[in-house]
Symmetry: C2
Subunit: 241 residues, 2 copies
Amino acid sequence: MTSAPGTRAYRRLSVEERRSQLLVAALSLFAHRAPEEVSLDDVAEAAGVSRPLVYRYFPGGKQQLYEAALRSAADELEKCFAEPQEGPLSGRLTRALDRYLGFVDQHDMGFAALLQGGSVVETSRTTSIVDGVRRAAAEHILSHLAVADPGPRLRMTVRMWITAVEAASLIWLDEDKKPPLDELRDGLVDQFMAVLTATAGRDPQTAGAVRHALALETPDGPVGRLARLVLPVVSDAAHLF
Amino acid sequence: MTSAPGTRAYRRLSVEERRSQLLVAALSLFAHRAPEEVSLDDVAEAAGVSRPLVYRYFPGGKQQLYEAALRSAADELEKCFAEPQEGPLSGRLTRALDRYLGFVDQHDMGFAALLQGGSVVETSRTTSIVDGVRRAAAEHILSHLAVADPGPRLRMTVRMWITAVEAASLIWLDEDKKPPLDELRDGLVDQFMAVLTATAGRDPQTAGAVRHALALETPDGPVGRLARLVLPVVSDAAHLF
């Protein structure tokens, strides 16, 4: 007995492959519509399978599928943060931000829905998935600052910057992806160095991290550029010293 | 015919006063519990009135009461931002932040619930109330920067800082209100000046605003202190210039 090519493909996938296929279909739908506007029928249609098959994999229905898709997106997002601890800090941050912003660009409205949590199916579990990504981002950054036991001021500075990056991503999506991604990314790196330096003024631990980071920077890197651009702006403020 | 004192007080309030009394009772409940954990019975009990009376004022029930309480909290929050355009920018920001952080301190969990929107009764209307407060905060700050027509980089910097302040407020509540409010507030002022200065490096309009602001600062003010504290940290970075 022969079957149509579509049906053969349908049969050939392993459980893991099928599950993954359904998550990809769900993610791409959530990427362009709010979760409450995505139905299980939409997911089945996008994956080219039947509704009962979606239910077989996600018997909890839409809520379970949404959480699994969110979990899968969160895993993908966390992978963006991995970066070897080598070279100037600004370069590491630039590369991680390029991957993160690439994710934002690719998932656009799904990323917005994910972060804003403005969903009828939001639960404490979905909130904790998003918070887990934030925590992972903070831990990655703190590990790059080479500080043994980061104190509250340094931690708060890093967490505030992460929230500011999320806000910038949402504003960027809202403003039709302007400015270009590399300009946005350079601005975020600048802001990170700026807030870290401001905190360093009052916190010896952060001051140590900044000195260590600055020693690794080069004149033609982002921080060298920032330093030379900012100097003329603040040089009129001699009356403050 | 005489009535008990409680009943007399009950009768004497005008419609506006009664409404306001119910909102105050609702706000104080939402301040300590998530909206989904507050019932109309709780509000009636806290206000010392009957449940039907609450329904007479808010026939839409809990959703309408929640939105009205949110609207009232938003109005109160927006009042914190008003500040005369006089004296150094850091002083204006310090005073506005003191009022804002006082609001956060007073409403604690209600503030968190308000911002996180992690509520079963969240709607696009409640989201737009919170967004309205953010927009109002941004417009206030931009007006103090004395820039005629703020461009996208300056706007984004201000909006990112506002989100970072929200994050700091939530972290502060989450960490049992540590550090002391004045230390938190000084750190937020420092970060504002830092991100504004970083943006000034690439944006002539922001550079103009920073020069103007720095000219008004005094050596014993927050920005003078920040400048003197940061100088030794960055002075090792001569290789970047």
